[in-house]
């Protein structure tokens, strides 16, 4: 197995683990983390594909794509976390409402109007 194949296979496994985590966890922060893991898996695939020929300099285009992807994923993550803070402020928990886990939902109204 070549070096590229090894990385590609690992990136696919990480992607699937991220997807599993995304579906299996209800806590919003965990979901957001899971999405980031999936994103990192794609970046790993691109970076390893950039240097399939170890004797030549790496392909700069996937590097640029990864950099762009990171900025996009930072932006999404920042907004998602802020939205989680909003949901926490409004409902007192970091879950989507229908998914209420077995905790007593104490409404902490930190939201000031």
């Amino acid at each position: 197995m070549s070096q590229f194949s090894l990385y590609a296979v690992i990136s696919m496994l990480i992607f699937s683990i991220g997807l599993y985590g995304f579906i299996a966890h209800a806590h919003l922060v965990r979901k957001i983390l899971a999405v980031n893991i999936m994103g990192s898996a794609i970046f790993l695939l691109l970076i390893s594909a950039a240097r399939r020929d170890p004797t030549a300099p790496p392909d700069p285009v996937p590097h640029a794509m990864v950099l762009t992807g990171i900025v996009v994923s930072v932006s999404f993550t920042a907004f998602a976390l802020a939205l989680t803070r909003r949901i926490y402020a409004e409902t007192g928990q970091a879950y989507l409402p229908e998914t209420e886990p077995a905790i007593s939902a104490q409404k902490q109204d930190i939201v000031q109007k």
């Binding site: 070549s2 590229f4 696919m12 285009v61 640029a64 802020a82 402020a89």
Partner: protein, 238 residues
């Protein structure tokens, strides 16, 4: 995805695990079928490097060959800060944040580190034209310095919105102005004249470093700075 809480029942969890494994194996199989030889654009990029204005191929792709993508991506970052502000989060201080603001260790460290970090950021941006580095790397370090300052509560947030917002938008603004300005010269969108490419890229990257750094630090803050500033002063007066 319809979010049935943490899936606790054993059989649903088993089904989910089995599905994930099957999906993962499918992807692995796909990965193994990918071509082993380099198919990418490296060979297309290389002969054009002398016209790009820089010697680092990644910077050439980001700021020149595929500069349009980067322009939009800076747009995504600007959009993110607007989107986060539109949620109008309440300024809150966690116990940890209060502790961080009061501990003398952090204040000392910040005084020591922040100047060095800004120097490193400047270097990273400048070296980006020829080696690994660039506005994003530099901006990330600026953001680190900003987060430290925010944690140590050592920076007074401005009450006036105009100044801070100008700093946030200036990287995007210059990039856009250069992109559109090239039309005036009779060029295509974002088509730098090769002899001016270096200086234009450097100018864009410099402003971008500041804008990216500030944006990321303010994303960490989350609260609209003017609102946080009011809170900050209230606390200072107490």
């Amino acid at each position: 995805m319809r979010g049935r809480a943490n899936i606790t029942q054993l059989w649903t969890r088993v089904i989910l695990v089995v599905c994930s494994v099957v999906f993962g194996l499918g992807l692995v199989w796909t990965a193994l079928a990918l071509p082993q030889e380099a198919t990418g654009l490296a060979r297309v990029v290389k002969p054009r490097m002398p016209e790009s204005g820089v010697t680092n191929p990644v910077t050439a792709v980001l700021l020149n060959f595929r500069g349009y993508d980067t322009l939009l991506e800076i747009g995504v970052l600007l959009l993110a800060i607007i989107a986060v502000w539109s949620l109008r989060l309440a300024p809150t201080r966690t116990a940890l944040e209060r502790f961080m603001a009061e501990t003398p260790v952090l204040a000392y460290l910040v005084r020591l580190l922040v100047p060095v970090m800004l120097l490193v950021a400047g270097y990273l941006t400048w070296i980006g034209s020829s080696r690994a580095g660039g506005a994003f790397q530099g901006g990330a370090v600026v953001a680190g310095a900003g987060v430290l300052l925010l944690l140590a509560a050592m920076v007074p947030l401005p009450r006036r919105r105009r100044l801070l917002r100008s700093l946030l938008v200036m990287g995007f603004g210059l990039f856009l102005a250069v992109a559109g300005g090239m039309l005036l010269l009779g060029n295509n969108l974002l088509e730098y004249p090769p002899e001016r490419a270096y200086i234009l890229i450097l100018a864009i990257e410099t402003l971008l470093t500041v804008s990216i750094g500030l944006t990321l630090a303010l994303l960490f803050l989350g609260v609209i700075p003017e609102v946080a500033a009011i809170q900050q002063r209230r606390e200072d007066n107490v």
